[in-house]
């Protein structure tokens, strides 16, 4: 039986509406801006109704901006590809390395095990610039400067600790008895890991993978310092619309819309795993 009074229902709905507007309004406004020219955006007071233009998206996608000097090259779509490639590859590498490591930390007690796990986590505490300048010298020496391989390696500083520490929690939550039973049937540790442990921890792995992807996608400083202009992600690329001649707000808004699409699509797809995975890890029973 529902004991909620009509007043309470109305209050709840209004409160939900206010919260939704509070969180979604900036995104809604950015979407509107992406269909306006700079002059329309900077009007005082701003207007919700306007004649929409696709020129911002056209300039970004075609990679060409017509200005008084002539046609200028925009590299935004290449930046978008860089973000996608660097984030995806880094997460895949981190999963390949991190999931077995997380399993080992969860299941086995070995010498310096906790120290190694904590060292991995401590990398997350260090300010990136502190790491990057010595790394930059080292990369120059060994020829990894301005290479995708070098960047994917450095991106492990973001992805690997996250995956190891989140996935380790999930493995610890799964009862080892199931694995022991499977082992008694004559299967190896490797078979047990791939056929029992990984499928059971899949929601946790998906959640850790998605979080790592978001962190890698949002990274700014690694490629900036270690890569040349053709290796830059969207986070750096979007700043190209801020120039001394003015800020191209419309193009920045269109760039934001395009750059959140991959993460949004992935988050929507993995939403079920994400909620399940995060809540499983959070509740101990």
């Amino acid at each position: 039986m529902d004991h909620t009074s009509p007043l309470e229902t109305i209050f709840r709905r209004v409160a939900l509406g206010v919260i939704l507007v509070f969180f979604l309004f900036p995104i809604f406004w950015i979407v509107l801006m992406s269909f306006q020219t700079n002059e329309q955006i900077l009007r005082i007071p701003p207007r919700v109704f306007f004649s929409p233009t696709l020129s911002n998206y056209k300039a970004l996608i075609s990679g060409e901006l017509i200005t008084t000097v002539g046609s200028l090259k925009l590299t935004f779509m290449h930046n978008l590809w860089n973000s996608f490639f660097l984030s995806t590859t880094s997460v895949l590498v981190a999963l390949v390395l991190g999931v077995p490591a997380a399993y080992a930390f969860a299941r086995f007690k070995f010498r310096l095990g906790e120290d190694i796990a904590f060292t991995l986590l401590s990398i997350r505490f260090a300010p990136p610039l502190l790491i990057l300048l010595p790394l930059s010298l080292l990369f120059n020496e060994i020829g990894l400067s301005d290479t995708y391989i070098g960047l994917i390696w450095v991106y492990q500083l973001i992805c690997l600790p996250l995956i190891v520490w989140i996935v380790r929690g999930y493995f610890e939550d799964i009862s080892p008895d199931i694995e022991h039973a499977y082992r008694i049937d004559g299967h190896s540790w490797a078979q047990t890991f791939f056929r029992i442990a990984v499928p059971l921890a899949r929601p946790g792995i998906a959640a850790a993978g998605l979080l790592s992807f978001i962190f890698a996608w949002n990274n700014f400083v690694f490629a900036l310092i270690l890569g040349s202009a053709d290796k830059q992600p969207v986070t750096v690329g979007a700043l190209a619309f801020v120039t001394a001649a003015g800020i191209s707000y419309g193009q920045i808004a269109a760039a934001i819309v395009l750059s959140i699409l991959p993460t949004l699509a992935l988050a929507l797809y993995a939403q079920r795993y994400l909620v399940e995975g995060l809540s499983l890890g959070a509740v101990k029973g």
Binding site: L42, R43, T67, T68, V221, L224, I225, A244
Partner: protein, 476 residues
Amino acid sequence: MYEKERRLIEAFVGGRMSRRELFAGLGKLGVGAVAARYLLNDAVTSAMAADFDWMKHKGTHLKLLLNKHPYADAMIADIEAFKKLTGMDISYDIFPEDVYFDKVTAALSSKSSQYDCLMTGAYQTWQYGPAGWLVDLNEYINSDNTSSGWDKKDILPNLLASDSWSGKPGDALGGEGAKQWCLPWAFEQYCISYNKRIFDSLKLTPPQHMEDLIEAAVKITKSDNNAYGIGVRGSRSWATIHPGFLSGYVSYGASDFVMKDGHLKAAMNSPEAKKFTELWVKMIQEAGPKNWATYTWYQVGNDLGAGASGMIYDADILGFFQNNGDTKEKGNIGFHDFIANPEAKAPKSNVWIWSLAMSNFSKQKDAAWYFLQWATSKEHDLFGAIKGDMVDPARQSVWDNDDFKSRMGKNKGYLEQFEKTSPGAKIYFTPQPLFFNVTTDWAAALQRMVAKQVPVDEGLDQLADSINKQMEQAGL
């Protein structure tokens, strides 16, 4: 090429004919605009190549580090001319301004040989030069590797001096033993850019000095124009100090440091400095933007372009971009020189100079010098100034060019303010390695004074004390 066309182009290259006359003449001969431009670029390239072996480094590949800026855009638009002239290949990395100097500092401090030449400002070279990261270009300027057409005397002398320093804190820029850390490319000086529509509606004339400025700004703020009086920068950054603020400050006879017993001592609390700062703070409190403490180049410019401010005391090129870009007030912006101190006779303006430098870690310095020569040449500066937005150019010959004058003349008062201000336009800061710390603290002190957290008099005394301690700790 036909004889008549060739003669016309030779006359232009030889300086006997303006670009407009040339194009009119070619038009009469039936040569279209695109073909005329091609022929012209070809002729300019040939003229440059006539007396100098530009092909000496043919086949070399150079890499540049550039900031995303209209000056860089203008250079990129002309880069084919350099390739054709020298037979060199060239590529560039272009980074947004917000992160550009982080990239430069990282590249130079890691001794990377990836970049041969880079864009910089003079203030940055006070760190990069003495650290041994940049080449002293005097070695090249006075050598046989320099074309006779690269006319050093044509570069505005104040700018050339502002880009050179001995490395000894307190030594005058361009003084004895100064090293040329970079070459001026194009610059900005500080004047009043005002909204003609608002000024006409209130029957105002451009202000002549500080008190006049405050009066006009207050009138605009109190009027029903939906605009505040005066836009200036206010964020906690060195960029708040160097434009209008420092220009007005030196007009009142104040300086940032004085030399006492061989040591630099902060002079922000001198009587002249206090007098000017009182007026500056009052101006912002009574007629500045509401969120002044967050204002950077972008907010100041946007407000002028959107009609949200009546005037700005900032870079002339900032007003130029708002007057010629995709803005509401396009065509409505006027320019006027400004003598902050009513007792002074001529304007004084600090400057920001986008300059080109050579990395000391480049493995092909001679070839890099060829690029620097070309990029700072009369020919390229003129191309950038006419075909691109390379304003204000660093060469006098471009300012004397009829086509450039005709272009800039469409911006009311622009050429006049340049002529009056440029003789007193140079870097007025005392060169020293703590430049960015000092100016950031200065901006933070201004914020406290504008917010009335501390009286101006007391705030400046505190600032001078704090800076003196920092200088002492740094052994300066």
